[in-house]
Structure formats: C-alpha cells, structure tokens
C-alpha cells in the first residue's frame, strides 16, 4: 500500500517540479516571482483542449499551445515587465503586475471558455497497469517519462549550450553580459518561453490524468509549485525538481497515514520546517550581493 502512495506521490511531485522549474527559471534571471505562472498553466491547459477539439492531433495541439502560451508570456514581458525594468521600477512593482496579469488571464479564460469544469480527453489513454500490488494509470507513466526528459533537457540546455551559458551570464551580471555582446532581451525572452513551455507540459500531463480543466485550475498548483521551488532553493533547477518531488511525496504520505484533509496543510508545514533549517532552500546558495 505504501508503495502505491509513493508512486502517486512521485507522479504528483514531478508535476510540481515542472511548475517549480517555471518559477525558478524566471527568478534566476530577473530575481522576480512570476505570480501569473499558475494562470499560465491554466491557459496552457485550455489551449491544448481547444486545439485538440479542432482535431489537430495531440502533438500539433501541444506544440501550438507551447508556442502561443510561451509567446503570450514573452509579449507580456516585452510590453510590461521590460518597460518596468527600463524605468528601474522597484521589484515590488513588477510583482504586483504579475498578480494583475494572473487575474486578467483567469478572467479571460472564464469569458472565452466559460467558468465550468470541462472534461479533458485522456490523451494518453486510461489503461491501468498492475505490477504486484501497485496499480497505476498509464498516464502516470507518461508523467514520469515526459517530465524527467523535460527536466533533463532543460538542465542540459542551461549547462551545456551557448544560450544556456548566456542565461547564466545574464543571471549573474547583466551589465557584464551586455559587454560580452549578449542580447539580454533575447535571453530573457527565451527564459520566459521555456518557463511557459514547462507550464504547458505540466498542464498537458496533469489534465490528461485528471481529465478536467477549468479557469482557476492553476491557483493551488501554482502556489504549490512556487513553494516547491523555494523549498528546493529558488533559482536552482535541480533544487526545483527535488523540491517538487519532496512536496508530492509528503502530500501522498499524509493522505496515506493521516487523512486527505491535511494534505495541503502538511505540504506547507514541511516548507516551514525546511526553510527554518535551510533558509535558502535545500539547494539554494546564500545570496552574494556584490556592489
């Protein structure tokens, strides 16, 4: 029975990890929390649903959703956030606009798609697999495989490619990055796009698992993903992934040994405990602020 809960916890944890990575990417480069990330996740889910109902096929539907959702984030950054950065607005101003953007997105989804819970097709089938006592859905296998591939892919991108090196350079010293000839605007847009992409993939995986979508679906999972990224050490991709998995497992074990009612509370209590012990999160670095 416990193994069953661990499997479920891991599945959920990987989804949290994908969301957490989205926060972490943006935070790493702009030192800003994108509070619209949960809403972006909901936008991604609705986009996929829309394109799937147009009978475009699953893969094209997902790719189009990534392009539109990622593009939406890039446009938002270029029009609003970039202007704030240019005017050297305090961080809090950017934070508030992301909260506003989140509300606007959720409202737009409500107006365009309606407020009700819509059913989402089981894109990966709903076959059950049984190994010994452990039963899981086939879509859980998808979650495991796709999210691990995506997390590894992002890690490789950031650590082994030229654009990844540019991202790390802008993150550490954007003025010096300018002097290297790095187009910081472009790098920031790539980062937002990747953040949007991870949200869309998370939405694809979880919506096919639960088979529902609705405009406010991103609110709680957005908070959980944010917590996971802080727990793991915001700014660190590896930390975000581990933070997500820990959160997922903790929730699942709470359901197993206490009660489903404590699920959300335990997740946040765990966050408090870890932050008290390691204020920068599990894999976060103590902040070096240089003048």
């Amino acid at each position: 029975m416990t193994v069953q809960y661990l499997v479920n916890g891991l599945t959920m944890g990987l989804i949290y990890a994908l969301i957490a990575v989205g926060y972490s990417l943006v935070f790493g480069i702009l030192k800003m929390i994108n509070m619209a990330h949960g809403a972006i996740y909901a936008v991604g889910a609705h986009m996929i649903l829309m394109f799937v109902t147009w009978n475009l096929g699953t893969l094209p539907a997902v790719i189009l959703s990534i392009v539109f959702t990622g593009g939406l984030l890039v446009v938002y950054d270029r029009s609003i956030l970039a202007t704030l950065r240019k005017k050297k607005a305090p961080g809090i101003a950017a934070l508030v606009t992301t909260i506003g953007f989140s509300q606007i997105l959720t409202n737009a989804l409500q107006i365009i798609f309606g407020t009700e819970i819509k059913s989402f097709p089981a894109l990966f089938g709903n076959k059950m697999i049984q190994i010994g006592n452990v039963k899981f859905q086939f879509s859980q296998v998808y979650i495991l495989v796709v999210s691990v591939i995506l997390l590894l892919g992002l890690t490789l991108l950031i650590n082994k490619t030229k654009v990844g090196l540019a991202m790390r350079a802008v993150e550490q010293n954007s003025r010096a990055a300018d002097l290297m000839g790095i187009n910081a605007k472009g790098v920031i847009s790539v980062t937002f796009f990747l953040s949007g992409m991870s949200a869309v993939i998370a939405a694809l995986l979880l919506a096919s698992y639960y088979q529902t979508v609705y405009p406010t679906m991103g609110a709680m999972i957005g908070l959980k993903g944010f917590s996971a990224s802080v727990l793991g050490g915001i700014g660190s991709l590896f930390g975000a992934a581990i933070g997500g998995i820990i959160l997922g497992l903790a929730e699942s074990l709470t359901v197993a040994f206490l009660s489903g009612a404590y699920r959300d509370a335990v997740a946040f209590i765990l966050l408090f405990i870890i932050l008290i012990i390691r204020p920068n999160g599990l894999f976060g670095k103590a902040k070096i602020s240089k003048v």
């Binding site: 090196l165 550490q172 300018d178 290297m180 670095k285 240089k290």
Partner: protein, 236 residues
C-alpha cells in the same frame, strides 16, 4: 580608427561629459587620465554603448556611427570594454568566463586560437580553468577580465582602471602585460588613475577634467609638462 566629436553624456540631470573630442589611431595606445569624477569611465561606457550619448555627439569607429548602436552591436564591431571593477561572472568557471568573451564569434578554430593566446598571456588562468571566477584573487580576476575582453579579438580594447585595488607588484605585472598586448598589435584605449604608469606605456594622452579635455599630446611630453605634473603626477 576611432573619432570622437563633441561627445556629451548625461546622468539624468547631471551633465557628465561636456563635449569631448579625441581620436585613437590604428595601432596606438592612448590613455585618458584625470582625477576622480573627471569623466574617464563615463567616456568609455558611452563609447561601449552602455550609456547613451546625447544627440549631436559623434562617435565614429572605422566609418560606423556607434551612437546609433546597442552595446552588443558595438561588441560585434570589435570594440570591447574591460570594465572597472573587473565584473567577472563570479559563479562561472574561468573557462566559461573566457568562452563568454568570445560570445559574438562563430569560427570554432579562431576561438580555440584565442583561448591559446589568452592562456599563453596569462598562464595562471590555465591552472584555474575549472575554478569559479569569484574564488580568484583580485589580480587573477583582473587578468581574467582582460583575457575575457581579448577573447572577442577586439580591434579596439578599452581598459578601465585595470590597476585599481592591486598590490604594487601586480600593478607592474598588469602594465607590462598591457604593453605586451599592445606590442602584439591591439589598439588600446586605457583609462587610469595611476597616471605615471599609464604615461610610461602610452603613445598619446588626453587629460580630462570635469567632463572636458584639458590637455592632450604625446605621452612623453605630457610627463614633462609642468602643469600636468603638478596636477596629476605629484609635482617634484
């Protein structure tokens, strides 16, 4: 190679550069000296496109107007600034820092040659290749910053206070390296507070004072100019 004509730069309301004129010829080592706040760093930052020159300013490099270009475009033109305070990427390895210096270049073979050139010039960086730049000593960070700038294979290398905060023996080492880089054919525009040292290795010199060029001329003559000596070299 570089011609600057009535360059004006403002920090908000503060008129930092008040119509500066100077030029740097191909193959020269030109130094800008002057006291704190004279506008030396501002001059370099404006040429590099980090600060915007006010309208009417002319900055022409190899026939191209730099005032219309962004900082990354100017780097691509072969004008590289090694900034004051070194500004290395602290959590990246020495190697990655150097690789970023060559960010605008495509040819793998030429980049590899530049790596060899820089490692040859600064053997100490070879030993520290994999080390995080933030863990290097001040002198090593300065070498890394100069090396990183050289990775762009600049036509014009601008150095902003390379000797700042270094121990006297390191200052000597850095200056002899600058001389070496110049001898090997790189045109250099050097900003220094250590005017004595700068004049020793420079061909020509411009003295800045509160945003304007006060004197200019041959570096050797400047060393003997009484007024300059009194104001900037410590008179004897």
């Amino acid at each position: 190679m570089l011609t600057i004509d009535s360059m004006n730069t403002y920090y908000g309301n503060i008129h930092a550069l008040k119509g500066i004129d100077f030029d740097v010829n191909d193959g020269e080592l030109v130094t800008l000296i002057g006291s704190n706040g004279a506008g030396k760093s501002t001059t370099l930052l404006t040429i590099a496109g980090v600060l915007k020159a006010a309208s009417g300013s002319k900055i022409v490099f190899d026939g191209h107007d730099l005032t219309r270009m962004s900082a990354p475009q100017i780097v691509k033109m072969g004008v590289t600034l090694c900034p004051e305070g070194r500004e290395v990427f602290p959590e990246l390895s020495v190697e990655d820092n150097l690789r970023l210096g060559a960010y605008c270049r495509k040819d793998k073979k030429e980049i590899a040659d530049s790596f060899d050139y820089v490692y040859d010039l600064f053997p100490r960086l070879v030993e520290r290749k994999k080390q995080q730049a933030g863990t290097l000593s001040g002198g090593e960070q300065q070498m890394l910053a100069i090396g990183r700038a050289l990775m762009n294979k600049p036509k014009l290398l601008m150095l902003d206070e390379p000797s700042m905060g270094l121990a006297p023996n390191l200052v000597l080492e850095i200056f002899s390296l600058i001389k070496e880089i110049h001898k090997q054919g790189t045109t250099i525009l050097l900003v220094e507070q250590n005017a004595n040292m700068a004049l020793k290795i420079a061909d020509r010199c411009y003295v800045l004072e509160v945003g304007t060029v006060k004197f200019h001329g041959d570096a050797k003559e400047m060393q003997n100019n009484d007024e300059v000596r009194k104001a900037y070299l410590g008179s004897k």
